[in-house]
């Protein structure tokens, strides 16, 4: 896997849907176009909801990394 460098990190482990997406969205709004946000997400519902909602908002999902029980999601702000 090629390493992706994140400009910001948001730990959303233990944060339920849809609050995790809203927090991701707010963070992305603060960032510059082209910057990368790394989000930590729990397994289960968050993985089925957050990447898709981010995509629907027009941002670019770069990578999902399985950390065993939780995930690192890399998003490029559009």
């Amino acid at each position: 896997m090629e390493a992706i460098k994140a400009d910001q990190i948001l730990d959303l482990k233990g944060v339920v849907c849809p609050i995790n997406f809203v927090k991701t969205k707010l963070k992305l709004e603060e960032m510059e176009k082209g910057q990368v946000l790394e989000v930590y997400l729990d397994d289960g519902e968050p993985i089925l909801n957050v990447p898709r909602s981010v995509k629907d908002d027009g941002h670019k999902v770069l990578k999902l990394v399985d950390m065993g029980g939780w995930y690192r999601l890399f998003i490029e702000k559009s």
């Binding site: 896997m1 993985i47 990447p51 898709r52 995509k55 670019k60 770069l62 990578k63 999902l64 399985d66």
Partner: protein
């Protein structure tokens, strides 16, 4: 004199009343008016009218039914015609009871749900036009219910209906567009998708794919696309005292094929069912293959 007047009074035809969605309450002379709200849609004018009528003629309450209708309880039978007329002015008609095609149930589908694969509402509307209140389907062996769901999540519970549909999609991969993010592998509920990081390839096990479309919905690069979208068709679901789920009768039907399949199913049902028998029980007796053959023709 009194006696004579009583005998001259027209009898209430309960059967006729029931057909039209007028349900006799357990309380003397009171009726519950079952109003048809196709696919659970009521506009603001209709909602205001319902509220007014409930306040004026009922007890100020409206009951929402399981099949997306609205019921006005506590209406005295002297007021039934008046209430019905007022409902008509806003385009509201009565729902159905008894052994006939019932109001079609539907989820929002692609109209606003992020999960939907088909425009469930417009397909359900078509079914309503084709099958609801038709004289040829007005005297069935038993009730006949239909439901449409936009996707496999089956929120409108198509498998609990005599016939039911949900949207389905077959995925296909354009490898050049894949950005190697791994999301599809994670979201696939049946582990049909495998990412091989070393080889940088993705494989789809077609025998495991259930056509839910989560890979397509989640794919950030548009590498997973819809090869075909269609309707999964279930037959013979029912609730009641002995519930059972409908069985899959066909995959990837077009809307036109689906309407044809319902016609064939109704023909089969009217021919084979004993009076008072639901489609589920007919299929239990004869097997679903007989129906599948009829549809396939």
């Amino acid at each position: 004199m009194d006696e004579e007047q009583k005998t001259e009074q027209p009898k209430i035809d309960f059967k006729e009343l029931k057909k039209g969605g007028y349900l006799k309450q357990r309380q003397k002379d009171l009726f519950c008016l079952r109003i048809k709200a196709p696919m659970g849609m009521l506009n603001s004018e209709q909602l205001t009218k319902l509220a007014e009528l409930a306040k004026t003629y009922g007890q100020g309450v409206v009951h929402l039914t399981v099949r997306q209708g609205a019921e006005l309880p506590w209406i005295h039978y002297d007021n039934i015609n008046r209430v019905s007329e007022e409902l008509k002015q806003t385009g509201l008609t009565m729902g159905a009871c008894g052994p006939r095609v019932r109001v079609v149930v539907s989820c929002p589908g692609t109209r606003w749900c992020p999960q939907g694969w088909i425009d469930a509402l417009s397909f359900a509307e078509q079914l309503d036009k084709e099958f609801y209140g038709k004289p040829e389907y007005d005297n069935l062996p038993h009730k006949f219910k239909m439901s449409v769901s936009g996707c496999m999540n089956s929120c409108a519970k198509p498998q609990e209906n005599d016939v039911g549909f949900h949207g389905q999609v077959e995925p296909q991969l354009t490898k050049e567009k894949c950005i190697d993010c791994n999301i599809c592998e994670r979201v696939c509920p049946t582990e049909a998708i495998k990412v091989h990081p070393r080889k940088k390839t993705i494989s789809l096990d077609a025998s495991k794919c259930i056509f839910c479309g989560l890979c397509i919905l989640n794919c950030p690069g548009g590498a997973w696309q819809a090869k075909q979208i269609g309707l999964a068709f279930y037959a013979g679901g029912k609730w009641g005292k002995f519930p059972q789920l409908g069985r899959k009768a066909a995959n990837f039907l077009s809307e036109k094929q689906a309407i044809y399949a319902i016609r064939k199913t109704l023909e089969f049902y009217m021919k084979e069912a004993k009076k008072g028998e639901r489609l589920a029980n007919v299929l239990n007796r004869l097997g679903i293959d007989q129906l599948r053959t009829q549809i396939a023709e």
